[in-house]
Amino acid sequence: MAAANENITADAVEATEFMDLSRKYRVTGVPKTIVNETIEIMGGLPEKMFVRQVLDLPEEPEA
């Protein structure tokens, strides 16, 4: 995502190396994604679902 848009930066953080950060963001399982200090996403998700959650886009209405 970062490579596709200059407004986006993406960090991959090794949770056991940076324990202070892991504690700050309450990382109890991985992967855990934090967006702008506010959005928290637990686990791995399919591409569209992940991007929706990262960008805080509304969910698609169920068919």
């Binding site: 490579a3 960090d11 994604t33 967006v35």
Partner: protein, 143 residues
């Protein structure tokens, strides 16, 4: 002794062969008072770079190289900044890229080295519409 087996090296070399753009891996480590994972990160990056002439490693000191640290907004080490032809891709890795994280590093290098992003067109449109600063941090472990 290398970290990669000869078979893994061959596989990785083939995977990296799609790279056509120069990729610089800027590695920030801290010599004194820093983590030993800095040495591991250095060894991993050097092994990757040895497999493709387009990939180079630039070493920086987390304490002394203050200008570059500010330029790339690095606040912890070890840190890897991935440049595509000297342009910041805004992709960072913090910690030694071992285990599953090695895969993420390789994929990021391929994005930087090919300029191709393999995402669904609709997803890409959402991403390209972002017009406010968005900082994503993904926490993971090697296993």
């Amino acid at each position: 002794m290398g970290l990669l087996s000869p078979q893994d090296e061959a596989t990785l070399k083939a995977h990296l062969s799609s790279i056509t753009l120069p990729v610089q891996l800027v590695l920030f480590t801290q010599t004194f008072g820093g983590s030993e994972s800095g040495d591991v990160a250095k060894q991993i990056l050097n092994e990757i770079a040895s497999l493709n002439d387009n990939i180079s490693v630039i070493e920086k000191n987390f304490v002394l190289d203050t200008e570059d640290k500010a330029k790339y907004k690095i606040d912890k080490a070890p840190a890897i900044v991935i440049l595509s032809d000297h342009t910041d891709t805004r992709m960072r890795m913090y910690g030694a890229p071992t285990g599953y994280e090695f895969v993420g590093l390789v994929e990021a290098i391929i994005v930087a080295g090919t300029g191709k992003i393999d995402l669904d067109p609709e997803t890409m449109a959402w991403i390209q519409a972002v017009d406010t600063p968005t900082h994503i941090q993904v926490f993971s472990t090697p296993t």
